[in-house]
Symmetry: D3
Subunit: 229 residues, 6 copies
C-alpha cells in the first residue's frame, strides 16, 4: 500500500498488539514520546476540542480532499472496537469534516476517538457525548461528498506518518504515533521511565535540586558556565 | 449606506423579524450554516472567550480604526434589546477594544453579545457576567478615543459581510450571519434539517452505516473506489 | 549585565519591593497595563495553560537555546520565594521545555509560576498542581541538555524586555511586566484607577451612556460625526 | 443579487465608468486608498506573484468552494475587455485554482488580471506571459470540477466586499477596491492628492522637515511631547 | 529503516532510475503533481530563496533536531552526483541550518539542491552560486553541533513522506516528491499531459472557451447552474 | 531613559563608534550574528522590501501606536548622517507607517534605511529610490497623526532590544543589532571569522568533507552514530 494512494480501501490491516495498546494507554503522551526517543509527535496545532479529552487506540486511516468528507462514511465501516480514526487531507482545509452524526456512527462501531488534520463541528454535542477529538480547527462549515480519497493507506497527519494499525495516543500534551512494530517495546520503556519519576518527584519536592540529583554541576562548569554576584 | 463609510451613525435600521430570530436561536451554528447552503460563516479564528458562550440577535454594526475604540461608546446608544454588536476594524489589530465597563453598558441597553474582529479584555469579569463575546484575540492592551469610525454601516467582519439588522448566531462551532431578508426561510430550513437528524442519529447509534443509510455504495463504486484485502 | 549574554548566572539581583508586588497582585493585568500607560504587555499569543491561572511575582530570568532546557535546572537554584520564572529562547521553538518534575522543584523553591516564550508539557499534572504557566505553546516534545544559556540576564520575552527583579503579572488577559523601579508608583496608579471603576460601573449598569458619562458628544460632533435616519 | 448566493451566473452587470477606471489606473494603490478615506484595502497577505505586477479593471467576480475551480471556466465567458477577475473561496484554501491555460483563456477574453483569495500555479509561465495575479498563495496542487459556485454575485475577497463592476486596482502595495458608484469621485480625489505630492517631495528633499511643513510642532507640544537632552 | 529513527546513517540506498529523473526534470511541479493524482506536494510555505530556482534529483535525507545542524556534515558524505538533499527537523525551527560553506561542499559532491523544512542563511552567496534551495525560512541564526539525528532514513518534510532515493522536483510552484518505484510511470504520465496542453493552449488563445472545449455546459446545467440577466 | 516610555524625545544619544560601524558594514548579518555569539537577531518575519536591500548604521529609535505614524515626523529631525531608523509599535499592526515622502525626508537627513516592526507602502517608489527598508509587512493603508509615542527611548523591535546608538545591520539574511558598547569587539571577531572562511571554502570546494576538516568523525562515533549498509 503506498503512501497517499487514492481510490483504495484496505480491509485487512495488521493492528498493534492489544496488550501493548492497553499498556500505552496508561501513560501520558509526553512519557511515550520520550520513550520513543522524541520522534512521532504531531504538530502542536493539534488540540483537543474539550478539556480533558484523551484517546488511545489503533489507527484506521482516511485520506480526504479539502471540503469533501465522503470517505468518512467509508472509513466508518472499517472501524473495529479499539480503533482511533486518523484523518488526513490532501491540502490544508479547516472545514468541518466531522460532527455528531458521524461520531454516533463511529462510536457504534467501537471507535475510541478521532485525530483530524482539519476541522470538526457540533463541538457542543461531541463534548456532551465525551467523544474525544483532536483537530486543527473547529468550523461549522460542512463538506460535500463528491471525490474519492482512500481508507487504510499510509497517511501523513499533522507532520507524522501514520500506518494503519499503528498506536495513536492523544492527551492534553498532544498526539503521538507509535509504529505497531515497536508498540510493546515503547510501552515497556514508558513504564520504566514512569517508575523512575515517582522517586525523582519526591526528592525535588523535598527541595533537592535537579543540579545535584542529575549531577549537572560539573558538566555545566566544564561547558564554561560562570556564576557572578 | 455604502460599505465601510466613515463618520456616520445610522439610527433607523430594519431588524430581522423577531420571530425568525427567536426560531434561529434554537439551532446550532452548524445547522443554520447548512440551511443557508454553506455560506455566511465567519473565519474560524473567531472563538468564544469562555466555554459555552452562545449568542443570537440582530446586528448593530460598528467600524473602528486599529487601536481606537471611540465608536464603541457611540454604538452603545444604538443598541436595542435583542441586538448583538458586530465590530469590524479597518486593519488587523488585536488590542482590547472592549472590557467589563462597556459590557455593563451594552447589557443595560439589552445587548445579547459582541462579535469582534479584534481583541477584548477583562475576560474574567466578562465570564463572571456571562456576557458572550466571540473575538479574534484577548489582549489587555487598551485603546484611545481619537478617530471616527461608523455605526450601522455594512461591514466585513472576519470575512463575512454584515448588514445592520442581519441575524447573527454564535456558538462553539463559530459565528454565522443570516441576512435579514432570508431569516425566516433559513429558520424554517434549519428546523426541517434538525427534525431529520433525530431519526438518523438513532439509526447510526444502532449500527446502521451511513454508507447504507445514505445509499452511497453505488455512487462510490461508480466513482471507482476499490476494496482490497 | 548586558542583554542576552550567554554562559552567565547572576546570583544577586535586586527584586522589586515586596509591598509593591503584593499590591500589584490585587489588580488585573488590564488595569496595571493601563496604569503603566499601555506599555509592557507581552504578545497576545501568551496564554494560560488552564482556565483561571493567575501569577504575580518578581522575575528571575532564564535564556535558553531552541530544544535545550539545561538552564531550567540552573535557574531553579536562583529562585526565591515569591519569584516568577521568565523564560526566553534565542529563536522560536515550541518544544516542551518544562513539565511536572521541574514544576515540583520550582514550587519547592517558592516559585509563583512560569512565563515562557516556548512550549511546556505535562499540562494535566501542572493543572492538577495548580502551578500557573503562561506559554506560547503546549508540546509533549522534550528537550536536550547540551548548551549553555544564562540566568538573570535581561531578556526579551514575547516582545517585552524583562530585567531580573521586575514584577510580572499574568491572568486571563495576558502578561504584563512592571519595571522594579516603578512598581510602587504603578501599583498606586492601578489602585486609583480601580477605585474609580466601581462608580462608573454602577452608572453604566443604570443605563447612563458612556457618551454622556465621559462627555463625548461634543468632541464627536467636532470630529464630524453625522447622525442619519 | 445577494451576497455569496450559490449556483448563479449574472450576465448583465453595471461596470464602473471607463474613464474613471482609466484615470484610477494612473495612480498607485496607496494614493487611491487614501483618496477613499482609508477603506477598501484587501488584507496584506495578498501579494503579486512576480515583482512589478500591476492590474486595474472592472471586477467580474467568482465564488468557488475549496479545492474546486469549476466556476473559473464559467467566469471566463463573462469577461469583457478591461475586466479583472476577483475570486473568492467559501473557506480558506491554498490550492492552485488557476494556471497558464486559464490565463490564456482569460487574456483571450480581454482580462487585465486575477485577484484570488486562494492559490495559483504555473507561476513561471504566468510571469513569462506577464499576466498579473495577486494571490494568497502559490501551490502546484490542482483542483476538481464538481461543485457549483457563482459568477458575478457580490463576494468578500481577502476581507473586502467586491460587487461586480467595482474597480479593482493592484500593485506592489496591495489590492484596493473602489465601488463603481464613487469611482470617478475617488479618481478625482487621487489626482488632487497626487498633484500635491510633487511639491511636498521637493521640499522634503531639500531638507525641510515634515514637522515644519505640516505645522506639527504646536500640536505635538500641546499633546505633551517633551524634548530632553 | 523505520521512519525518523535516530543515530543512523544508511549508506546504500536505491535511487530512482536515472532516465526517469531526467525525464521528470523536463516538467514543471504542477504537471508532475497532476500526473501523480494530486498527491505528494509539500506544504505551500516551502519557497525558493531566489526567483527562478529549480531543482530535480534523487533524495538523500537528513533528520536534525531544532538548532542543531551536525548531521548536515554527515549527509554531505552520502551525496552522489544528481542527489537533492531533503532535510527535516524533529520540531519546528527556523534557524539557519545551511549556508554557503555547506553549499560549496554539497556542490563539490554533486548535489543538485536542498529542500529544508527549516531556515537557511547566506542567501546572497547561495544566489550568486545559483545553488537552488527551497526552505520554510531565511535566518542568519546559526546552529550548534551537539546532537545526533539520522541520514537516509524516511522523513516527513513539509507534510510529505520522503524515502531516500525518491525523486524530488522543485520550482516556482513548490516541491513535489515522486516515490522511486513510480518515477518512470509518473514521468510518462507527465509527458502525455504536457503534450495535450499545447493544443489546448492554442485553442484557448484563439478564444475557444473551456466551457466548450471541455464540454462543461451540460454537466453545469445538470448541477443546477442558473444564468440570469 | 527607560524602555518604552511615552511622550519623550531624547536629543543627545551616544552613537556607536564610526569606525566600528564602517567595519561591521563590510560583513554579512550571518557573520556578525555568529561573532556576537548568536544573539541579537530580529525575528525572521523581517524581510527586505526589494531583493538586494542592505543597510548598516547607528540606531535612532521611534515608538508608535498602531495606526498612528505621527512620531515618524518627529524622529526625522533627530536623524544624523549614518543613522538607521528603528521603528517599534506598541501592539501588532501591519498598516503602512512609511512611504516615499518620508523616505525622501529621511534621506535628506542622511538616513541609511528603515527597520520597522510594522508595514510600509509606496514600495515601488522606495525600490526606485533604493531606500532600504526591512519590514514585517507591506500595506497601502495609511495612518493617522493623533497620539504621542517616543523617540530615542530603548525599544523592542521584532523581538530584539534596541538602544539608541546601537549598530543595526540588515541584509538578505535578516536584521541584527549590535550594542554600541561592543561594536568594535564584534567587528573584530567578524573579521577574524571571515578570514578563516576563505580557506575553508577552498578546501570544501576541492571535495574535502566537513567531517574531516572539522574532525567530527570521532565525536560522532562517541555520540553513538551508526553506519549501516
Amino acid at each position: 500500500m503506498s503512501i497517499n494512494q487514492l481510490g483504495i480501501v484496505k480491509r485487512n490491516i495488521v493492528r498493534a498488539d492489544k496488550s501493548a495498546v492497553e499498556k500505552l494507554a496508561r501513560f501520558g503522551v509526553a512519557t511515550v514520546h520520550e520513550a520513543m526517543g522524541r520522534v512521532g509527535l504531531m504538530k502542536t496545532y493539534m488540540r483537543p476540542i474539550y478539556a480533558g479529552a484523551h484517546a488511545c487506540g489503533t489507527a484506521v486511516t482516511v485520506l480526504m480532499h479539502p471540503g469533501d468528507n465522503w470517505m468518512m462514511h467509508v472509513v466508518a465501516e472499517q472501524i473495529q472496537p479499539g480503533d482511533v480514526v486518523v484523518a488526513a487531507v490532501t491540502s490544508e482545509c479547516t472545514d468541518g469534516f466531522f460532527g455528531d452524526l458521524l461520531a454516533t456512527s463511529f462510536r457504534a462501531r467501537g471507535a475510541k476517538g478521532l485525530i483530524i488534520d482539519g476541522g470538526v463541528r457540533d463541538v457542543k454535542d461531541l463534548t456532551a457525548m465525551e467523544f474525544p477529538v483532536f483537530s486543527k480547527a473547529i468550523s461549522a462549515k460542512g463538506t460535500i461528498k463528491a471525490t474519492l480519497g482512500s481508507v487504510n493507506v499510509p497517511v501523513v497527519c499533522a507532520g507524522v506518518l501514520v500506518n494503519p494499525g499503528d498506536v495513536v495516543l492523544a492527551d492534553a500534551d498532544g498526539v503521538v504515533v507509535v509504529p505497531a512494530a515497536i508498540a510493546q517495546q515503547v510501552a515497556d520503556a514508558a513504564e520504566k521511565r514512569e517508575s523512575l519519576e515517582g522517586e525523582k518527584r519526591a526528592k525535588l519536592a523535598a527541595g533537592v535540586l535537579g543540579l545535584d540529583m542529575y549531577k549537572m554541576r560539573e558538566p555545566l562548569e566544564k561547558a564554561g558556565l560562570k556564576y557572578i554576584d
